[in-house]
């Protein structure tokens, strides 16, 4: 049994002015194994962030359930930490305090010295030594998200949920932090569920990439297995013969098929919402 399962999850938003409810997705099922890095990729508005928020417990689901390590979870919890697109650091706290708040919550029995050591360890891991006493206002976007990652890793959650974590960071810095994330993930082998619309990011980081059709009533149409061996780095992955095959496949999907997934009968897609997604492997 998979470690994290979103089991036949549906989400409806109430329609405008008493109109019919809008279906974001229906009967969506996805499974993530322990230690796996899974990415959902799709256009803006396809409901991928809603899916992530449902797994995080920050948003309610209309039908179905989320099962983590064999137990159904409801509501947010320390076992599913989110790295937010807009960082969500408390601007009135320093870098140290932001992470310490999380560490103290996760390990309420720890001594002060233990908390301090733990926080410093993760600040060092993301290369922010010396910035402990700075407030978020004094940090660049990249440094802010490093704090966000350090905070998330520091509480050692069962699942890390990354919600377009690098979307607000400039392209050059983004590459650097992606590589840092690869290294942190290699060290910890956390279970990670990420949503993004950056194809290169998805290939660099993921074991599997789930391709989501556009909403409303979006679904996971395909699952692409990233067969490029680890450890990966930005300049080594692009040398791999599968890299452009995977990249082209994902981009073709996003450009050609994502918007009319339901209409494209008999194509590589097909079948209504809720059917088993096609597994693609190069």
């Amino acid at each position: 049994m998979s470690f994290l399962i979103a089991d036949h999850v549906s989400k409806f938003f109430p329609g405008h002015a008493g109109g019919e409810d809008v279906c974001i997705f229906k009967d969506l099922t996805l499974k993530v194994d322990k230690g796996e890095f899974v990415t959902v990729i799709g256009h803006s508005g396809c409901g991928k962030s809603t899916l992530l928020n449902i797994i995080a417990g920050l948003e309610t689901l209309s039908e179905g359930g989320v099962i983590l390590n064999g137990r159904e979870v409801s509501g947010p919890g320390l076992d599913r930490m989110v790295v937010f697109q807009n960082f969500a650091l408390m601007p009135w706290m320093t870098v140290f305090e932001n992470i310490a708040l999380a560490v103290r919550s996760a390990y309420p029995d720890w001594e002060q010295a233990q908390v301090v050591a733990h926080v410093h360890k993760y600040i060092g891991l993301v290369g922010l030594k010396g910035a402990e006493d700075k407030r978020p206002i004094a940090l660049s976007g990249g440094m802010k998200q490093r704090v966000g990652l350090a905070r998330a890793f520091s509480i050692e959650p069962k699942v890390l949920l990354l919600d377009e974590p690098f979307a607000q960071i400039d392209a050059l810095t983004r590459g650097v932090i992606q590589e840092e994330l690869v290294q942190m993930w290699n060290a910890t082998r956390n279970t990670v569920f990420m949503v993004t619309h950056d194809v290169d990011e998805a290939i660099l980081l993921s074991d599997r990439i789930m391709l989501m059709t556009n909403g409303p009533s979006s679904r996971i149409a395909e699952i692409v297995e990233v067969t490029i061996p680890r450890p990966r780095s930005r300049d080594s992955v692009i040398e791999h013969p599968h890299y452009y095959k995977i990249r082209n496949h994902v981009i073709h999907f996003l450009v050609r098929h994502a918007s009319h997934g339901a209409a494209a009968e008999g194509s590589i897609l097909g079948g209504p919402s809720g059917t088993v997604p096609l597994v693609v492997r190069f």
């Binding site: 807009n86 969500a88 919550s105 407030r135 978020p136």
Partner: protein, 293 residues
Amino acid sequence: MKTHENGSPWIISVFILVIFLGGWHLLTLRPSFHAKGKTDEQLQMMEFNGDIVRAGAEGYIWNPEKMNGVPGPLAVVEKARTELSEAFVIKGTNDHGIAYLVLYTVSRFAGGFLAASVVAIIFGVLLGLNRVLFRAVNPFIQVLKPISPLAWMPLLLYTVKDPKWTAVLVVFMAAVWPTLATTAFGVSSLKKEYLHVAAILQLSWFKRLYRVILPGAAPTIVNGLRIAFGSALVAVVPAEMLLGELGVGYLSWIEWNNLDIAGVIFAILVVGVVGVILDSGFNKLASLVTYQE
């Protein structure tokens, strides 16, 4: 734009002050009395009325004891000098030195303002966290907010039957609404992500309040407090006048009753100075709790 950066503002300030004081002095200057062209009968009548007094042999001058027109700056300085030299003297039940009057006003103000702030922040947070409650209570706040705090005074005086507490309650009434409204707004418009982080980290209700909600809403709450502070400061002076409670507001009124206009002007200046001191203290406190995003 560069020209605007040059020059010292305080030179201009001093210039404005000199112009103002000079103008005030000249406008309130009286020419000395000339008896020329007046009959003895007229002069006797004026002396009888107390307008003029005899000075030296057969000469008259304006009676310095009789008030006439607005006093000049020198008269106010003289008045300030005597008042300040007797700052800590208590001459009678209604004649306390200026230091005591300032103390009374400041403590009255501080009591009402602090009580109002505590009450307003507590209820503001509750309203800010509960959208339905906020919308249910908001019409009442909107009706109560624009009522002048002085309008409450007769009712408060009738209810508590004590002018001391009535004055504090008038300040309370002036200060409670702006803080309540802005606190509720600040808490309800707190960024969702902060609450999401708090929820994921499973912070207790209390920890969520004082580690996330209050600091997050602090800049907005401080803005509300600043408005409340100003309106409370404006309310305390007429409250003292109307209730006859000793304080700097009352000083202005009692000097008017004494027909001592220089005293009235001195009282006005004291009110201004007290306001500036309280305000700068408030700003120091405010800078401790606000943050930049």
